[in-house]
């Protein structure tokens, strides 16, 4: 099982990256290890976007990414959709290596969220997660994750039901709304990017630990026995916002 890292540049178990395709055309892409997008010049997978019928509602397609002998593979080489549809990429299972989706065209890729795209993350440990844009932008926010109250089987049932309730954070021109959200362990936050110059949603602590160079920072299957050094212990997170974000500073004071 992967470590539970909040970083849109690295899609792992409990994460997903979604991209809406608004115009007709063929969009080639690849799935590579985080940080590898800049070095890729092969794009073996295609999204073929056809004309959409008038007044057609958005449809969603899901592409699952798996690992075979440390190679990443998408389960659909040529996906046909219609303009306005959304494609979501997610790990096929817990054994899948973390990855990024890198498009041949600049607008499309998980390492930099630009237009009509999104990143979702299920938070596995309690604590306050201050996040910001690793590309140096002003986008930032805080996700406060509480341990659920477990009062026997009823508590677990209530918690499981609550897992289906995701929190939505809309990001428009670098502004996150709401900037602060409260959830329970296991719940998902969907960061929907309407438009912008290209941002990331990245844990402050990861950046403070030098996580800009993500190619060397992320875990693989070995992380099961050796936690990422940049991942804070939950006990240290709990009750204190350690990030440098605006909201974090506000809370700290």
């Amino acid at each position: 099982m992967h470590s539970n890292v909040l970083d849109s540049r690295s899609i792992g178990l409990g994460d997903a990256f979604g991209q809406r395709f608004m115009k007709e055309g063929t969009y080639r892409y690849n799935v590579v290890r985080p940080g590898g997008g800049q070095m890729v010049d092969e794009f073996p997978y295609e999204i073929v976007v056809g004309r959409a019928a008038a007044d057609r509602e958005m449809h969603q397609e899901t592409v699952l990414v798996a690992s075979k002998e440390r190679r990443l593979t998408a389960d659909n080489e040529r996906l046909q959709i219609q303009a306005g549809d959304l494609v979501v990429w997610a790990p096929a299972n817990g054994e899948a290596l973390r990855f990024e989706v890198t498009g041949e065209k600049d607008f499309f890729g998980s390492s930099t969220l630009k237009n009509e795209c999104g990143y979702s993350h299920a938070f596995g440990l309690p604590g306050d997660y201050a996040w910001r844009d690793a590309n140096g932008g002003t986008t930032r926010g805080v996700v406060r994750v509480k341990a659920p109250k477990m009062d026997g089987p009823a508590g677990i049932e209530r918690w499981k039901r609550n897992l289906a309730n995701a929190q939505l954070v809309m990001i428009n021109n670098g502004k996150a709304e709401p900037a602060e959200v409260d959830i329970e362990v296991g719940q998902t936050v969907y960061f929907a990017v309407v438009n912008g110059d290209g941002i990331t949603v990245t844990d402050d602590q990861l950046l403070e630990a030098g996580g800009h160079d993500i190619g060397t920072k992320y875990d693989d299957a070995k992380s099961q026995t050796k936690p990422m050094p940049t991942k804070p212990k939950p006990t240290k997170r709990t009750g204190a916002t350690r990030g440098t974000g605006k909201a974090a500073k506000k809370k700290a004071t």
Binding site: Q60, G124, M170, Y190, T225
Partner: protein, 265 residues
Amino acid sequence: MDITAAIDEPAADRLLDAVVGSLPVQTASGTGSLGPFSASYSASAALTNGNVDLIAPSTVRIAGFRVDWTVGFSFSLDISSIIPDFCFPQVCVNIPCVGRVCTPAPCINWPTRTITVPTIGDFLNVTADFGLSAARVGPDWEIDVTIQGVPNLQFGAASALILAAIAAAATPILLAIPFLGPFLAIGVAALLATIGIAGVTGLLGPIITPFVSGLSFNVYKQPANFEAIPAAGVNDPAVFISIDDVQAQIQSTDEDELVVTVDVS
């Protein structure tokens, strides 16, 4: 010619106090079964003599023979063996002006972790019967006091203590695993139920028992041939004594005594 020496119970008690007290702390390491798990352990034991009761014809009973032991161990825990793998429900959000977006429902295969239980110590009071044996060993005659059979060691209180230590060691490790927190209580309870008192006893018994079973103390050692009187001149050579036989037994007359009879020539 026979030479006979005897010591009573208080003297035997002091003798064994000295002999047992001179034994170094014993150590052992290896692997053992902790319920369904395989544990790597390191252990030590220090022995303290108890009260000696001499019983004719050849039994030395030691009551309250104390074994101070410590044990530390670690074991590999496949968490999926105690907590069922968990699949999230599908998560959907409604994005204004866009529509409904759903993410796949991931399933968590819990990882394997090593649980390290720090060193824990306790003691046992054992009552054991020892036998006497006199034998020629190489150039020497020796008398040993050797435990008879394997005493039944009771680890009741210590087992409960170790179960609590396992829970304490496992809790922070399980808590650090993403998404497992809500199942922590279930996981720890399942782990302890899986091991159980029997599992801890099953680990401790084979570790600690060898420190006691096979115990043998040497209480007498004398060369079979030795110079009794050194030479005093050319016409007065050294006098050597040969020990032809040694026997040790408990005799009960007006009091119980350990009697050693030495046949010399």
